[in-house]
């Protein structure tokens, strides 16, 4: 359990917003790409990841 937590900390820096946002971004863009909306998928991926960066940064900035 401790090892898992260490790996999680190493990869995400302890952020909850970053992996959550990444999953939402990839799922949204993946669905659009599967429907053939590949350019819209690119915009969705980038836009959602910018919001993810903001959420991860503001998450612990006290």
């Amino acid at each position: 359990m401790r090892l898992l937590r260490e790996v999680y900390e190493f990869v995400t820096g302890g952020s909850i917003a970053a992996p959550a946002g990444l999953v939402i971004a990839a799922a949204g863009a993946g669905l659009l790409a599967a429907r053939g909306e590949t350019v819209l998928a690119a915009g969705t991926l980038l836009g959602t990841l910018v919001l993810t960066l903001a959420a991860a940064t503001l998450e612990r900035a006290r």
């Binding site: 820096g13 990444l22 991926l45 990841l49 910018v50 503001l58």
Partner: protein, 239 residues
């Protein structure tokens, strides 16, 4: 993917981490002798090279390019966000900047209390290995795309190691004037941008102008990071 972009990213990431490792190695050399510092550094470098040599080609051989992009891309995104948000916090004054001189003084004091030779070797090994591990992971991740990509990223890390080592041997003092935070911000933007492109490629999105889109993505993230620094500074002033 442009090899120069990969090499530049690993070069800057490695330089930042090796500057931090050099502080610990110099403290060991000053407090317990240069032999202990040298031995610890050599063993740690050998361990890091072994990790890259073992896992880089293994990942490249294990799966098709598209599948690898789906694994490595999200990983680079998470790594990039972790690097970039720390840099934003430091620029906004929400996190203390890395003070190499203070770390050096603390390490020397700690090492002078226990003058056992093995202790110095272990501290130098630990410093170089822990700081270099993130770099090794980044190099292996880039190398997963192809052996050429591995060679480019390994070359960037090797060049950084050579330059930082030569500078450390020449000045024999911690590097207090290296703009570490700016370098970390650049690495964060590049990791996040490359991760975004690879994740997108893996799930089948069409980038507007191929690999050239990378620079537009990097500019987008850099602007977002600058905006976040401003937001945090304003919040701090109001608090």
């Amino acid at each position: 993917m442009n090899g120069i972009v990969l090499a530049s990213t690993t070069f800057v990431a490695s330089a930042v981490e090796f500057v931090e490792a050099a502080t610990i190695v110099l403290a060991v050399g000053y407090a317990q002798g240069w032999r202990a510092a040298f031995l610890g550094t050599v063993w740690a470098c050998a361990a890091l090279v072994a990790i890259v040599a073992a896992f880089g080609p293994l990942l490249a051989a294990a799966a098709s390019l598209r599948r690898i992009e789906l694994v490595v891309g999200p990983f680079l995104v998470l790594f990039g966000i972790a690097w970039l948000r720390k840099a934003v916090w430091r620029f906004a004054g929400r996190k203390a900047s890395h003070d190499e001189l203070a770390i050096y003084a603390r390490e020397v004091e700690r090492l002078q209390t226990g003058r056992e030779h093995r202790n110095g070797v272990a501290v130098a090994f630990g410093g170089v290995f822990v700081e270099g591990l993130e770099v090794a992971v980044i190099v292996v991740s880039f190398g997963a795309a192809s052996l050429t990509a591995l060679a480019w990223s390994f070359g960037g890390a090797g060049a950084a190691l050579a330059i930082v080592t030569a500078a450390a041997v020449a000045v024999r003092k911690p590097f207090a004037r290296v703009p570490e935070n700016a370098m970390k911000a650049v690495v964060g933007v590049m990791l996040l941008s490359l991760g975004t492109m690879w994740t997108g490629d893996g799930i089948g999105v069409a980038w507007w102008s191929g690999d050239g889109t990378l620079f537009a993505i990097a500019a987008t993230y850099a602007c977002a990071a600058a905006a976040l620094v401003l937001v945090l500074r304003v919040k701090r002033v109001r608090a």
